[in-house]
Structures are given as structure tokens and as C-alpha cells.
């Protein structure tokens, strides 16, 4: 029994579960998103504890660094100014609570029932692949190199499928969130207005809104850029 490992595990578990609970109970949705980040980092720490270094880094990179920021952006872009005081949960939230607790009550006893079996299997699995010099515990867990090889070999097809999925998600997200240019409000700069006037798309107007005759333009200026 390694007390450090157990202690670290308990701390991480408390962090993950506690912030998970905060995510679903906190009223302020932004706080909830921030707690979500804490939960993600807790999970990443758990991966690190389980020697899945690559996955831990990916977890931080993707979840804590990108997904949560995306969520925060979405919240900030869709925050209703008037909707601060409305209820954040359904009226019958206790039904959801019952369901969740019920599920937990079903899963955990099942897990513990098979706990001993898994312990045995785990002990078997911890033996190194081929103990060369008698060091039975020098177990080489799979690293990023092995992951890469698996992606390129055994799991090539799923890998390609996932990449296509990501591409689809990329395109889909752009298409959904894209607002057509015509609907976007655009403020013209002076130069653009001038260009429009020159091309005759808009009649130049003076301060009162009367149309200025075309000939009146360009007379007052000594130096035209084209001439100079």
C-alpha cells in the first residue's frame, strides 16, 4: 500500500466529484462552467496518476483548454440581459435527482460485487511483458509511440472515420453559426462611401439629403491624385 498514491487519489477524487457537483448545482452558469474546468483538470490528474500521460495532456489541451473555453464563449454570447433572475433548473429537478441516485445505487453494488475478480485480473496484468533481467515489475505501459503505431495500424479505419467526423463537425459548426453577410450590419468608412459615390452606386447627397449634381464634384481640389 502506497500512502501517497492513496492520498493523492482521494484528493483528486474529491476535487473531481466536488467540482462536478458544483457544476450541476451552482446557479450562475459561468461559475458552473468554471467548476467544469476544475473537474476536467481533476480527471486529467487522475489520468496522470494512472500513467496515461499522453491522455492527460490531451485532456487538458482539449477539454480544459478548448471545450471549456468554447462553453464560456457560448455562454457569454447567449447571455440574456434580462434573464438573470429566472430559474435555472426544471421544476421537477428532484425527479432527475432520483434517477441519478437510482442509477448510482444500481451501479456501485454491482461494481463492488465484482471487485475481487478484477483485483485478481489486475494483479495478473501487472506482470511485465517479458521480464528480461528478472525485474518483474519493470512494466512498460503503452506510451504515445504505441498509441501512434496503433492509430496507423490496427485502428486506421476508426481513426480516419473520426477525422472525417471532426471535419464534418468543423464544417457543420461553421455553417450553423455562420450569419449571412447580407444580414450583418456593416458600417461604411468614408473611403468606401466615396468609392460608392464615384462608381455611381449611391447618389452623393449633401447634408439636407438633396442629390448633389455630379458635375459639382472634384472641382475644388487643386491636386488630384491621378494627375499628380
Amino acid at each position: 500500500m502506497n500512502p501517497i498514491a492513496i492520498g493523492v487519489f482521494i484528493v483528486i477524487a474529491l476535487l473531481t466529484l466536488g467540482s462536478g457537483i458544483m457544476v450541476v448545482t451552482v446557479r450562475n452558469i459561468i461559475h458552473s462552467a468554471l467548476w467544469l474546468i476544475a473537474s476536467f483538470i481533476g480527471v486529467a490528474a487522475l489520468y496522470l496518476l494512472m500513467e496515461a500521460e499522453f491522455l492527460a495532456v490531451v485532456q487538458i489541451l482539449v477539454y480544459a483548454g478548448a471545450v471549456s473555453i468554447l462553453v464560456l464563449f457560448a455562454i457569454m454570447l447567449t447571455r440574456q440581459v434580462t434573464g438573470e433572475g429566472v430559474r435555472v433548473v426544471f421544476e421537477r429537478w428532484w425527479v432527475a435527482l432520483l434517477i441519478a441516485l437510482g442509477l448510482f445505487g444500481v451501479i456501485v453494488p454491482t461494481l463492488w460485487k465484482h471487485g475481487a475478480t478484477w483485483e485478481e485480473a489486475a494483479k495478473l496484468a501487472q506482470v511485465g511483458p517479458t521480464p528480461v533481467d528478472g525485474a518483474a515489475n519493470s512494466l512498460q505501459v503503452a506510451t504515445a509511440t504505441e498509441i501512434g503505431r496503433s492509430f496507423m495500424g490496427e485502428y486506421l479505419l476508426p481513426f480516419e472515420v473520426v477525422s472525417v467526423l471532426l471535419l464534418m463537425a468543423l464544417i457543420g459548426a461553421v455553417v450553423i453559426a455562420y450569419e449571412e453577410r447580407t444580414r450583418r450590419r456593416r458600417v461604411l468608412t468614408l473611403a468606401e462611401e466615396l468609392a460608392l459615390k464615384k462608381r455611381g452606386i449611391v447618389e452623393p447627397r449633401d447634408a439636407e439629403g438633396a442629390v448633389v449634381p455630379r458635375e459639382a464634384e472634384g472641382k475644388v481640389i487643386l491636386l488630384d491624385s491621378e494627375q499628380a
Binding site: 459561468i30 456593416r186 468609392a195 460608392l196
Partner: protein
């Protein structure tokens, strides 16, 4: 270190704990001292560039100026806006600093590696990405328009530049065959310690791209949009004062230091250099540390030089620079890196190919003919790509003035 402690009679878990604590303390102290030196170094050198002297009063040559300023900021009033989200406002600098310190866990000092993580390169980038959370928290928690604007800008910038940054590393990872920083340093030890990646065409372009993207990640000029003081005051730091502001400052400079260290490690051979292997032992280690620090501070000097010279980009130009300039070049660089690796090491990677095609099996890396071919090929690819993309960028600049008639007409309606 842990082994030594175990031999002294500590329990194994205790020795691990003590060793970790000592390591963490050393890293923290090294990082903070490095940051303090960095501020002094930046201010002095930028002063000389501007024909003035810079801080020269506190201590010899003003070296103690950062300390006096640290004391000053610590004793200043720590104001929190009344309508701010107090906890978030408080936690933002903590998150920023935490992310920065985390990245120091894997960054080597010369040939000393605190932790040799399997995916160290990725880890550095990931912790850099955590900055965006701190920024968002600071921007949102301050309840200030400028802060929010600065936070949003900063986050958008960090996320955009993370992509070219990560992808600029891929050539290095390809050439090394590992993501461990230790292995990357070892791989650059050819040619009497001068086989740095920056001397290959792939590495040169990668170095330029990675360094540029890192400037943006570290919010350095010309990419210091989040704190563009002439536009949005101090950006997300607007509402911070006293120690909290100092923590932001600390985190910024420490991450700059980290960027310099990582760049030196990835492309400039880390602690490698002539004479390190020859000396060996502790002397070699110290020499490698000296080499490493020299390289890193030279890189930081380039940062300062850039800061003293160029204006900052506008926020939309910044984005298009990342997506339209850096990203294509980075992709091309990955391509040429794979050519490089295939040419130099294909018989090692795929021995069966050698059998099939009957090529001579030369296992050593210094096969000059192949090296020459690889250099020429990658150089051609990279130079061509750079020229092409610069040409396209130039055309975009020329075209920018007036948009098309249809767009204008639509905008008016």
C-alpha cells in the same frame, strides 16, 4: 535524488515526497529569480535601444530593482471592484500563475530535467492553453467592459495561435521520433554538440514559426493585443492592482521565460554545445546550463528587440496572420519534415523497404549524400512555400482598400 534519500534511511514514499518538494521549490525559485532577472534584462536592454539608461539605482546596475518593485506592489492597496465577482476575480491570477508554474515541471535547465514526461512537448503547450482560462476569468470577473474585451481578445488569440504552435512542433517530433524533451535534446547532439535542428531547413522554418506563434502566446509585441494599453487600457488586467497585478506580471514573464527555454530546447539544441560531452560530469552539466541560459536569453533579447521596433497588429490582422500565414506554412513544414525523415531514416524506420528495393543499408545518420539531398529538397519546398504565401499576402494587402461594389451596396441597404 529519491534514491539517495532512500539510502539515507527514509521510507520510500517519504523520500519521494521530500525529493518532489525540493524539486518543486528549486523550480519555483529558479522560475521567479529568472523572471526577476528577465524584467531587469528587458528594461535595461530596451533602454539602451532607446538611448537611455534604464533602472540603475537599486543595487549594482539596478539589479535589485525587481525586488524593490515586488515589495512595492506587495504593499500596495489591493482593490477589488464592488460589482466584481469576488471569487473569480481573486482566482484568475492564481490560475494564470498556476498554469505557468505547471509548465516549468517539464522544462529542462540545460541537461537537468525536472520530470521527463512522455508527452512533455504537448504538456508545455497544454499548460500554455490554460492561460486562456485565467484570462477569461479575469476579464469576466472584473465586471469591466475593457477587461471583458481584453479577456475575449486574449482568449481568441491564444486559441488561434495554439494551433500553429502545436503544429510547428510536429517536425521536431517527427525528426526525433519522440515527444520527450530529453530525447529531443539528445537527438541534437550530433556534430560535436552542434547538430541543432535550427540548422536544417525544416528546423529553421519551424523555429521561425514556433517563435512567432510563441510571441503571440506570451502576449509579446507585436501580438500584445490583450493588453494593448492604448486601446483597451490594460485589457483583462485593468481592474487589478497590488499583489494580484504582480502575480499576473509574474506569470507573464515566467511564461515568456518558459517560451524561451522551450524554443532553445526544441530548436537550438538545449544544453548541447561544443565541449559539453568532452567535459562530462558536473562540469559538463554546468557548461550545458550556461549554454542553455545563453541561448534562452539571446532569444529573449530578440523578443525585446522586436518589442522595441515594431508596432502591434490589429486584432483582425492578428487572426488572419495566424490562419492565413502561419498555418499554411506550418503545414508545408510538416510535409517537408516528413520528406526529411523519410530520406534520412527510411531504412531504419522501414527495414523491409530496404530489402525490397535493395538499397544500401546505412544505419548512421551522417550519410552526407542523403543529407545533401534532404537539405536541398526541403529547402526548395520551404522556400517555395514562403515565397508563394508572401506573394498571396501581398496581393491581399493591395486589394484591401475598397471592397466590391456588391458588398458595399449590401452594406448600405
Amino acid at each position: 535524488m529519491a534514491d539517495a534519500l532512500t539510502q539515507l534511511g527514509f521510507a520510500s514514499w517519504l523520500s519521494v515526497l521530500i525529493a518532489s518538494i525540493i524539486k518543486v521549490t528549486l523550480i519555483l525559485v529558479g522560475g521567479s529569480v529568472g523572471m526577476m532577472f528577465l524584467t531587469w534584462y528587458e528594461r535595461r536592454s530596451i533602454s539602451y535601444m532607446q538611448d537611455r539608461r534604464g533602472p540603475n539605482r537599486v543595487g549594482p546596475q539596478g539589479l535589485l530593482q525587481p525586488i524593490s518593485e515586488a515589495i512595492k506592489t506587495m504593499t500596495k492597496e489591493d482593490a477589488t471592484p464592488r460589482d466584481a465577482d469576488k471569487i473569480v476575480h481573486f482566482l484568475a491570477p492564481v490560475v494564470m500563475l498556476g498554469a505557468t508554474v505547471l509548465s516549468f515541471a517539464v522544462i529542462p535547465w540545460g541537461r537537468m530535467f525536472p520530470v521527463d514526461l512522455n508527452a512533455a512537448v504537448l504538456f508545455v503547450i497544454a499548460t500554455g492553453g490554460l492561460h486562456s482560462i485565467g484570462m477569461m476569468m479575469a476579464g469576466w470577473g472584473s465586471n469591466n467592459k475593457f477587461a471583458l474585451l481584453g479577456g475575449m481578445r486574449g482568449v481568441a488569440q491564444l486559441i488561434s495561435y495554439e494551433i500553429p504552435q502545436v503544429m510547428a512542433i510536429i517536425p521536431v517530433v517527427l525528426m526525433t521520433g519522440s515527444m520527450s524533451l530529453q530525447k529531443i535534446v539528445e537527438a541534437q547532439n550530433d556534430f560535436a554538440g552542434l547538430g541543432w535542428y535550427v540548422f536544417s531547413p525544416v528546423g529553421l522554418l519551424g523555429f521561425a514559426l514556433f517563435f512567432t506563434a510563441s510571441l503571440a502566446e506570451g502576449e509579446r509585441t507585436p501580438f500584445d493585443i490583450p493588453e494593448a494599453d492604448s486601446e483597451i487600457i490594460a485589457g483583462y488586467m485593468t481592474e487589478y492592482s497590488g499583489m494580484k497585478f504582480a502575480v499576473f506580471y509574474l506569470s507573464n514573464y515566467m511564461s515568456n521565460l518558459a517560451v524561451c527555454f522551450v524554443t532553445a530546447t526544441l530548436y537550438l539544441g538545449g544544453g548541447n554545445g561544443p565541449g559539453v560531452d568532452a567535459l562530462g560530469g558536473i562540469a559538463g552539466g554546468l557548461l550545458s546550463l550556461v549554454y542553455f541560459l545563453l541561448k534562452s536569453f539571446a532569444l529573449f533579447f530578440v523578443m525585446v528587440l522586436i518589442r522595441a521596433t515594431v508596432p502591434r497588429l490589429r486584432v483582425d490582422q492578428l487572426m488572419s496572420f495566424a490562419w492565413k500565414f502561419l498555418l499554411p506554412l506550418v503545414l508545408v513544414n510538416i510535409l517537408s519534415a516528413s520528406f526529411w525523415v523519410a530520406l534520412l531514416r527510411w531504412d531504419q524506420q522501414w527495414p523491409q523497404l530496404t530489402e525490397w528495393f535493395g538499397a544500401p543499408s546505412t544505419a548512421d545518420a551522417t550519410n552526407w549524400g542523403r543529407l545533401a539531398i534532404a537539405i536541398v529538397l526541403t529547402l526548395l519546398i520551404n522556400a517555395g512555400a514562403v515565397a508563394l504565401i508572401m506573394r498571396l499576402t501581398n496581393r491581399n494587402v493591395q486589394k484591401h482598400l475598397y471592397t466590391t461594389d456588391e458588398e458595399l451596396a449590401l452594406g448600405l441597404s
